[in-house]
């Protein structure tokens, strides 16, 4: 397969930190000008306070650069680790940072099973040595309409798949998150069916852009972002990137995925990023990059069309599927 180098965004389009900070202050104030009278009487649970990141993780040594990285400016470690969806902890995007701190990432075993020659139960530390750890700076697009640029560290999922030698009839890969309600408080709720499950078609799983992430910036992947091991498929909406993986199973038919069980029209199996106007949840034509004020147009396949559009020949990419 011929993989083209991703097209880059000119540096002129990247907002400097000082500009976006002042803009943040401006919009936050301007949006509510009419009510600028301060009242000291009012107190409430400080739900929106930023917390320090759970624990400064260990550094990963020997990270190699990758041709698949974008040159766009990554979002800060602070933003990436304090604003995300992780429904096992909370349905609020600021809460997982406060709740995931004590999540135990060792010992950790991943069971690789199903239609394979060599099923394995691999310890996370073995998995970390399967392939060189690469820096993969990817665009990340949430179906809610926000996006980030995230410097993941990880390795191609294909490296793991080759270890277990899938059988010819294995057409899909199913993933499963750990079920640990004692550590993940929201697994006590029935907001979603637990454990979280996701899936990819075999060719999507084997694609060189598809990685298992093990780190963020140069640190071990924090629990809040799905540590110790999560999937990253940059041309799909964020919820496809299943976190805290404990099971990878090779199957013949399309596996169920958590959000498509919840609302199939809004979160179908493929869930490729596409500027679809009549997406069931919200218009996907624009997105707000975290830290920016103006919205930017959403790109077909999140800007990875050159590399992955061929996977979907015959499918209408401007429809939601």
């Amino acid at each position: 397969m011929l993989i083209k180098k991703p097209s880059d965004i000119p540096s002129s389009e990247i907002t400097s930190k000082s500009t976006f900070l002042s803009r943040r202050q401006f919009i936050a104030g301007a949006a509510i000008t009419g009510a600028a009278v301060a009242s000291g009487l009012y107190m409430r649970r400080s739900g929106w306070h930023l917390e320090e990141t759970a624990s400064a993780g260990a550094k990963i040594a020997g990270i190699v650069k990758s041709q698949y990285s974008t040159t766009e400016k990554p979002n800060s470690f602070q933003d990436i680790t304090n604003y995300n969806n992780y429904y096992e902890f909370s349905t609020d995007k600021y809460e997982p940072a406060k709740l995931a701190g004590n999540f135990r990432m060792r010992p950790w075993t991943v069971s690789i099973e199903g239609l394979v020659q060599k099923p394995k139960k691999l310890d996370i530390d073995t998995i970390l040595k399967l392939a060189p750890q690469e820096e993969r700076i990817y665009r990340h697009r949430c179906v809610e309409g926000w996006s980030m640029v995230i410097p993941w560290v990880g390795f191609p999922l294909s490296a793991l798949i080759k270890q277990v030698e899938p059988l010819g009839k294995a057409k899909f890969v199913a993933f499963e998150t750990v079920y640990a309600p004692d550590q993940m408080p929201n697994q006590h709720s029935s907001v979603l069916p637990w454990p979280y499950v996701e899936g990819l078609r075999m060719d999507e799983a084997m694609h060189p852009l598809t990685i298992l992430a093990t780190g963020l910036y140069d640190e071990v992947l924090p629990s809040v972002d799905g540590g110790p091991l999560r999937l990253v498929v940059p041309w799909k909406y964020g919820y496809k990137n299943i976190k805290a993986i404990v099971k990878i199973k090779f199957v013949e038919s399309m596996p169920p995925t958590t959000w498509s069980i919840q609302w199939p029209q809004a979160y179908p199996f493929y869930s490729n990023v596409s500027p679809i106007e009549d997406h069931a949840l919200r218009s996907q034509t624009y997105e707000r990059r975290i830290g920016e004020f103006q919205k930017r147009p959403t790109l077909l396949l999140n800007g990875y069309a050159d590399q992955v559009a061929s996977l979907y020949s015959g499918m209408d990419l401007h429809r939601n599927f």
Binding site: L21, R24, Q25, I27, A28, G29, A31, I32, G34, A35, A36, V37, A38, S39, L41, Y42, R44, W48, H49, L50, N75, Q78, D79, N82, Y83, Y87, T91, K93, Y94, E144, W146, S189, V191, L192, Q262, W263, E277, D278, L281, R282, S283, T285, Y286, R288, I290, G291, F293, Q294, K295
Partner: protein
């Protein structure tokens, strides 16, 4: 029970006014201290929306409260809280018009016709607008108490539309919208019971303005 002195009521009104400004002031303060998190616009949108619903429910709670507690003077706070519901609702609408859609008519229109939570939210605000406009004493006089009452029952529909707006926009976690829905149901149920009870004891024509709500 004797009503509190006029002076005390005025002081209380000032205090409630400041209290109602609290949520907005908090957002402004946090905004200027860069403390609204990674996605400030999202926080502002959610906060203004939540407070619109909360103020609507408080407005609807005043009548049951004054009847249960037999404190008729509580009615004097209703207009103010109602207007705060409209103010927060308008700020909330602005976040959509400006910060989400950047006044792009095509984007707004497709949102309105394609997404029921937007349709419901806009309906809730549109129904509040005539109530805010006719909230003055002058308008009560001009319209006549009965017609004014009738118009202002739109708040029931507006609040219900607001709850549906919230319920339809969440992705999976219905706990909060359902809580608001439950509170609204209780508040509306009180009115039905009260109306039925009133029907049995008094003639409707004998009622004073402000007593029906």
């Amino acid at each position: 029970m004797r009503p509190p002195a006029e002076k005390l009521i005025r002081a209380l009104k000032a205090a409630v006014f400041l209290l109602c400004l609290g949520p907005a002031a908090r957002l402004v303060w946090k905004g200027f201290h860069n403390d609204l998190g990674a996605n400030p616009i999202d926080v502002i949108t959610r906060a203004t929306g939540q407070w619109t619903l909360i103020f609507l429910l408080i407005t609807l709670g005043i009548t049951p409260l004054r009847k249960i507690l037999q404190m008729p003077w509580l009615i004097r706070f209703r207009r103010m809280v109602g207007l705060f519901a409209f103010t927060y609702g308008s700020l909330h609408l602005m976040t959509w018009l400006w910060l989400d859609k950047f006044f792009d008519p095509h984007e707004m229109w497709t949102d309105i016709i394609k997404r029921r939570f937007i349709t419901a939210g806009l309906t809730a605000w549109l129904l509040m607008m005539p109530l805010a406009l006719t909230s003055t004493k002058g308008w009560i006089r001009r319209m006549g108490g009965k017609r004014w009452q009738l118009l202002h029952r739109l708040i029931y529909v507006s609040a219900a539309a607001g709850v549906f707006h919230f319920m339809w926009l969440v992705k999976a976690d219905l706990r909060r919208p359902l809580t608001y829905g439950a509170i609204l149901s209780v508040l509306l149920f009180f009115r039905i019971i009260n109306w039925l009870a009133g029907k049995m004891v008094t003639k409707p024509s004998a009622r004073a303005v402000g007593d029906l709500s």
